[in-house]
């Protein structure tokens, strides 16, 4: 039986993520991203990791969303511009992203969460990092998955550089 609270929070997270990409107005997109992060914080609370949830809110909403909002409001037109349609690019992106997700998912699911429901009531950062990097017992931890996650940051940096470059040409 799935926890109804989990269903609500997970739905809010996913809908927020979809809205963040699809919103016509960039400010609404950034606010939807904030809702996604709040949802992730809620999932952490459901896993009894309130400490991680507090920092999820402080860092991701208090800093990342704020930075995005700031940039949108200072750089772009105050009401966001119409999205640019690049069918071929979006098709390529879709294929690449699903490939990445497939690889990541298969890596995670082969040894996902063996007999541990998150990290219990005593969850703290130390335990979390231990589980992530060193692993507990037989499985090799989640070092590879964590490394893969860091590609997100690389992608963000490359994306930002590309955007900045095209803007200067135009």
């Amino acid at each position: 039986m799935t926890d109804p609270a989990f269903l609500v929070i997970a739905a809010a997270t996913v809908i927020g993520a979809i809205l963040a990409i699809e919103a016509r107005d960039l400010v609404y997109g950034a606010a939807a991203l904030g809702i996604t992060f709040l949802g992730v914080a809620g999932l952490f609370i459901l896993l009894d990791a309130t400490y991680v949830a507090a920092f999820q809110i402080a860092v991701y909403i208090g800093a990342v969303v704020v930075l995005i909002l700031f940039t949108v409001m200072l750089v772009g037109p105050v009401k966001g511009e119409a999205p640019i349609e690049h069918r071929r690019t979006s098709l390529m992106t879709a294929i690449l992203v699903s490939l990445m997700l497939g690889i990541g998912g298969s890596l995670v699911s082969s040894n996902a969460f063996p007999g541990v429901d998150a990290c219990g009531a005593s969850c703290d950062l130390q335990l979390l990092s231990q589980t992530l990097l060193l692993g507990s017992g037989s499985n090799g931890g989640y070092a590879i998955q964590l490394e893969l996650l860091s590609f997100v940051l690389v992608a963000a940096v490359i994306g930002a550089l590309t955007l900045a470059k095209t803007e200067r040409k135009a």
């Binding site: 309130t50 400490y51 920092f55 809110i57 909403i61 208090g62 704020v66 700031f70 409001m73 105050v78």
Partner: protein, 344 residues
């Protein structure tokens, strides 16, 4: 035997008289927050007036105009709600109301006495500060959504200001966590009854953490957007900044959120530095926590009378150099206070 479903009326009564419901509804919950916010509005006006050799509100009620803010509340609540035509209605309505809800949520984390607390989170202090970081985002959205010059400037100022004070605010509270060995606000209060010993006496954390307490006070005043750090509002410069376009009830919500934050931060300062509900004598713990919170509120209000507004560049420079440096130094000092100075 058939189990009858419980009678809805008796169930409602049972819920309404349960201690948790009473706490959320009356004290320290919603009803008391509303009344205290209104009283703080009066106190703010009255004390500032006395500092400036004025009288302040006096006609409404014989007790020095103490009912003035309630009269204003009723007046504002019944005013017509005029939303600017080009405003973004969704965020314009959402931001002040959500801000007020957020402020009220902060009170739920404060232990006013061992029994009088709504939520006893194991990580209450970071959760409090994490909720607080959301409010500049709301101010920015409010300023942007009004689609007007001064509110937008106010919103951007709020964000600039946050980059200045946010990190010293978090770092200064770490000293308390190190001494108490817990993020739990109740445990931090209890740790102050058995904690730091100097000359054979147990001291509240204000004594070993005096540097951290000063940094925390300064940065929390910046967080509350009160003078000398009221840049996002700055009435003489940008005519109330992000609140400029707000009509009647929404202006009430925006102002109320500010006073609820004043109350919440004073209560938090009392909890982590002034021993919370601890106190000498036969008086109940609740008296001590309310008394100390009131003292802190008056101190913060007096700052308004004593200082002028800083400029944005001054705030950022002091935040990133002086306050950040002192906050890190405070952590080092706290380490030596706990572990003792190593013999070289």
């Amino acid at each position: 035997m058939v189990d009858l479903p419980p009678d809805p009326i008796s169930m409602t009564i049972q819920i309404m008289t349960s201690p948790l419901f009473l706490k959320i509804a009356i004290f320290p919950g919603l009803a008391s927050i509303g009344i205290i916010a209104a009283l703080l509005t009066w106190l703010d006006r009255k004390i500032t007036a006395r500092v400036q050799l004025r009288i302040g509100p006096q006609y409404v009620s014989p007790l020095g105009g103490i009912l003035q803010s309630f009269a204003d509340l009723i007046k504002l609540a019944f005013k017509e709600l005029i939303i600017p035509e080009k405003a973004d209605r969704f965020f314009f309505l959402l931001a002040p109301i959500f801000g007020m809800v957020l402020g009220a949520g902060l009170i739920g984390l404060i232990p006013f006495s061992p029994e009088t607390l709504i939520s006893n989170l194991e990580v209450g202090l970071p959760v409090f500060l994490a909720f607080v970081t959301l409010s500049p985002t709301l101010v920015l959205l409010a300023g942007w959504s009004a689609n007007s010059k001064y509110p937008f400037i106010g919103g951007l100022r709020s964000l600039f200001q946050q980059t200045g004070y946010e990190i010293p605010l978090w770092l200064s509270s770490i000293g308390v966590v190190m001494m108490a060995g817990s993020f739990n606000l109740s445990k931090i209060v209890q740790a102050q009854s058995t904690g730091y010993v100097l000359f054979g006496v147990h001291w509240w954390f204000i004594v070993p953490q005096i540097l951290g307490a000063i940094i925390f006070l300064v940065t929390s005043v910046a967080e509350q957007e009160r003078i000398p750090f009221d840049l996002p509002e700055a009435e003489p410069e940008i005519i109330m900044g992000w609140q400029a376009e707000y009509p009647g009830f929404l202006f009430l919500a925006a102002q109320g959120a500010g006073f609820i934050k004043l109350y919440a931060f004073s209560a938090l300062f009392t909890t982590i530095y002034l021993g919370g509900y601890l106190g000498p004598g036969p008086l109940p713990p609740l008296f001590w926590s309310i008394f100390k919170t009131t003292v802190m509120v008056v101190v913060v209000i007096l700052l308004r009378g004593a200082f002028g507004r800083v400029r944005l560049d001054q705030l950022l420079r002091y935040g990133w150099t002086l306050l950040l440096g002192l906050a890190i130094a405070n952590i080092a000092i706290t380490y030596f206070l706990i572990e003792g100075i190593p013999a070289i």
